[in-house]
């Protein structure tokens, strides 16, 4: 298996993607609507995002029941009839929630758009949450919650949320099964009435459409939807650093390492530089983190870092699932790489690579109907507009190694980050305690 080396071809002249043209309208009830034509295939993708940032502890179990039962019947259609009506036009619709929003995600064959919009309107204005459906889903959710709580990745993510956002709604995504059991159909209906309202909501439609006509179709379908504006949650206070949290999972053959702290919003002037620091550190396969603990040492399969965004806070999160026997050595290498990127500049080659990767990624994410719908929905909900698709690559290209170093020092320095280890405490506790003060928690 050997042959003489040849020269790697250079890049040819890039062809830039055209910026999408948005048709836009705000309906009298406050709903913002954006429509974009993107041919491709004869499909249409719709995303309706509704602010849903309840602050009470009871909001979490209630929103999980709401998302599971929103399609279980309206005044005019049973759950079964709704499902049939969607499929008849080649459509599908899903409901999900997170700590900030409720998201209805629909897709349809081109000809099914009016029907899909009617059914979306029916759900937001007239979902009934029948008692038997709520009772059934409450029981199913409790079982699913037990299943999620057995997953090491879920345990680790929840432990990190608890550390970073204690006392804030962002601090929890897994309620107690008992809290789910307490949710009633009446409580879900009240939650819907209060939160599923047009002011602040955003509907994005992308696909094989005529945008002006699509705006009319949306307005016609959703004009009757009404309600008063809701308030966003306040920003959390994120503590820095602190003891390492070891969540005991007896018998685990791997340790799930999570390291995290605050980040920057896409709106921030320093966001491009921080994005580049993250990518060079651990945000893609060609990163320092992968090179070190996977390709050099073989400690782990898929180490990665990323920037995560909520409406009221952004974060930096590193994940690595490592062999139990190299838990402490992995933490040493992670701290070394974080310390290195926070204190010494990356090379110009690393910078160029990260700039090209992030610009290319954005071009790829916006190359499909569904991808463009997702990107637009995210950007617009974040208070940005479509010009960000052009401005962000320009900001990436402008960033210097010193800019990247400054943001790495602010956000990637190990002293400011919280560390979680989910693993077998009897096997890793002692070596991990050599690196940092440790607080051990039961895995239950």
């Amino acid at each position: 298996m050997s042959a003489p080396a040849r020269a790697v071809p250079g890049l040819t002249k890039p062809r830039r993607a055209k910026l999408p043209t948005l048709a836009e309208r705000t309906v009298a009830n406050g709903l913002r609507v954006v429509a974009v034509r993107r041919g491709g295939v004869p499909m249409v993708h719709v995303r309706l995002r509704v602010p849903f940032a309840g602050r009470q502890a009871s909001h979490l179990p209630k929103r999980l029941v709401l998302e599971a039962t929103m399609t279980s019947g309206t005044g005019s259609h049973s759950r079964n009839e709704l499902a049939v009506a969607l499929q008849e036009v080649g459509a599908a619709l899903s409901v999900s929630t997170d700590t900030d929003s409720l998201l209805l995600r629909g897709e349809s064959l081109r000809s099914g758009v009016p029907r899909l919009l009617e059914l979306i309107a029916e759900l937001v204005t007239d979902a009934q949450y029948p008692k038997d459906a709520v009772v059934g889903e409450v029981s199913r959710l409790q079982t699913q919650l037990r299943q999620r709580l057995s997953q090491p990745g879920e345990i680790a993510a929840e432990a990190l949320r608890n550390r970073l956002y204690a006392g804030h709604p962002y601090g929890r995504d897994l309620p107690d099964p008992a809290d789910i059991a307490a949710v009633t159909a009446g409580a879900v209906r009240t939650l819907h009435r209060r939160w599923v309202v047009p002011p602040g909501s955003l509907l994005v439609m992308v696909g094989d459409i005529t945008p002006a006509r699509a705006l009319d179709q949306v307005e016609k379908a959703l004009a009757q939807w009404s309600g008063d504006a809701t308030k966003p949650a306040p920003a959390p206070h994120v503590p820095t650093g602190g003891d390492l949290t070891l969540v005991d999972r007896p018998g685990a053959v791997q340790s799930n390492l999570r390291v995290g702290g605050p980040g920057l919003s896409r709106r921030d002037g320093d966001y491009a530089a921080l994005s580049l620091a993250n990518v060079a550190f651990g945000g893609y396969f060609a990163s320092r983190l992968t090179q070190n603990i996977r390709e050099d040492k073989g400690y782990t399969y898929s180490p990665r870092s990323g920037l995560v965004h909520g409406a009221s806070a952004s974060g930096f999160v590193l994940e690595a699932d490592v062999a139990t026997e190299v838990t402490a050595p992995s933490l040493v290498e992670i701290a070394y790489e974080l310390g290195r990127i926070a204190t010494s500049p990356i090379t110009s080659r690393e910078l160029e690579s990260a700039v090209n990767y992030l610009s290319g990624l954005l071009a790829m994410q916006t190359a499909t109907q569904a991808g463009l719908a997702g990107v637009l929905e995210t950007l617009l909900a974040d208070g940005l507009d479509v010009s960000w698709l052009r401005e962000h690559p320009a900001a990436l290209a402008r960033a210097t190694v010193d800019d990247v170093l400054e943001q790495a020092r602010r956000f990637l320095a190990p002293a400011g980050l919280a560390t979680i280890v989910v693993g077998d405490a009897s096997r890793v506790g002692e070596s991990v305690a050599a690196l940092s003060p440790v607080v051990i928690r039961d895995g239950e």
Binding site: A5, S111, R140, T143, Q147, Q254, F285, R294, D296
Partner: protein, 435 residues
């Protein structure tokens, strides 16, 4: 609502070539976005790996990222990503694939990178040891440290098949992985990674004539090698129910999987296609038969799925393959109760047939899903490469919605009628967790 919906069609300019070294080439230009996809499919999956070397096809996939004739370790990934692209690879029963999505100005670079490793991957003792360690961590993430890990795809085949190629664990045993040598890699590459055993597909923002010239330039001088014969992996289907049980210490609740053999996807497409529709009739959407009864009406299961094939999609696997139903439940009822309800629903379908409109709405939904997948240049290019490799028909990607639409209600019922208990395998997952 219209009783039958007219499903819109797409069409692609698809060109096929074969280089003198045997490499098959598929080109599908689409200038709508400045992005290209490159896919290389080698006609070897884990059905072809030797006894004593379980997991080798997948391990070898990892080794293909460890450097090649002109590239040091990590350089392949570096060149792709620093050009603004992404990359990956995967190993399945019948193929191993490698792919990149790139801004179109990196097309030649991407072709060069794939050609370089088709010419000569760089496998050393050190890289082999490193990737054996990485693969073990991959198996721990997805199987050993994970509740329900590998359920049912790792064990169901051991019940449904008797021969090593079809029945064994494609992720591999740790002992077999540890025994892998550089010589094994060299022999495997020589035998299975011949240009004549591969398909190269390029889709997206490129000119097909210029691209073919670039392909000639970079791949054309890779020497022709003997292409390995592809053995038949056929074996008889079971004639009685094959039962198995796995205790999962990490799982909090039970699960059960059922598997049946289906007709040859290539040799008997007409008999095979109805199973792809049947799986959707049973589980797609809240109005599907299994979800309606088992999830919503009787609260027997938390989740239920059905598919043709375990990890592949219905159109990138060869014979023999299976129809599989997997159900997770809370343990308030027994897995026997769940299986009984599944059997009753299959019997009801066989007895009463499909409801009015049921077939056409399912066909519309499958068509929409296929169209959405086609919209992404990578999804389309991967499908074309696979369809060229297995069926010599990459253009089939645009015809699948219509083919699905041609399946009749009688055919769906006929497919359901083969899902009898005495022809199946049943794998029970028993939770052994303390919580």
């Amino acid at each position: 609502m219209p009783a039958t919906l007219k499903v819109p069609t797409t069409s692609y300019d698809v060109r096929r070539h074969r280089l003198s070294n045997g490499l098959r080439v598929v080109l599908a230009p689409d200038r709508s976005a400045p992005v290209v996809a490159i896919a290389v499919y080698y006609d070897v999956g884990w059905r072809s790996e030797p006894e004593g070397r379980t997991g080798f096809a997948h391990l070898f996939e990892h080794l293909m990222f460890q450097g090649s004739a002109s590239l040091e370790k990590m350089e392949h990934a570096h060149y792709v990503m620093s050009s603004g692209g992404t990359l990956n690879g995967s190993t399945r029963l019948d193929y191993t694939n490698y792919f990149e999505v790139l801004p179109s100005n990196a097309l030649e670079r991407g072709l060069f990178l794939e050609a370089d490793r088709m010419r000569s991957p760089r496998v050393t003792e050190e890289n082999l040891a490193n990737q054996i360690a990485v693969v073990k961590e991959e198996i721990k993430v997805n199987v050993l440290n994970q509740p329900y890990g590998g359920f049912p795809w790792l064990l169901l085949p051991t019940l449904l098949f008797k021969t090593f190629p079809n029945a064994h664990n494609g992720y591999g045993g740790f002992e077999d992985l540890d025994n892998a040598t550089v010589e094994d890699a060299s022999g495997f590459f020589k035998r299975y990674y011949a240009p004549g055993n591969a398909v190269l597909a390029v889709g997206g923002d490129m000119d097909p004539d210029e691209t073919l010239a670039l392909i000639e330039k970079h791949f054309g001088d890779i020497p022709r090698r003997k292409t390995p014969p592809r053995p038949s992996f056929a074996e008889p289907a079971p004639t009685s129910e094959q039962r198995g049980e796995v205790v999962d210490a990490k799982a909090p609740t039970p699960a059960v999987a059922l598997g049946w053999r289906v007709p040859d996807p290539l040799g008997d497409m007409e008999a095979y296609l109805p199973f792809a529709v049947l799986s959707e009739v049973l589980v797609r959407g809240d109005a599907s038969r299994f979800r309606q009864r088992l999830v919503h009406d009787e609260h027997l299961v938390t989740d239920i799925s059905a598919s043709v094939g375990l990890l592949e999609d219905p159109f990138d696997v060869r014979d023999p393959t299976i129809f599989v139903v997997t159900a997770f439940h809370g343990g308030e009822v027994s897995s026997d109760d769940v299986v009984r309800a599944i059997d009753e629903e299959i019997d009801r379908l066989c007895r009463d047939g499909l409801d009015d409109g049921e077939l056409s709405r399912i066909q519309a939904r499958i068509a929409a899903t296929l169209l959405t997948r086609q919209d992404f240049v990578l999804g389309r290019t991967l499908a074309m490469a696979s369809l060229e490799q297995q069926r010599e028909d990459p253009g089939l990607v645009a015809e699948l919605p219509a083919l699905i639409g041609s399946v009749t209600a009688e055919q769906v019922v006929g497919a359901a009628a083969t899902l009898q208990p005495d022809r199946r395998a049943r794998l029970d997952l028993v939770p052994g967790g303390s919580r």
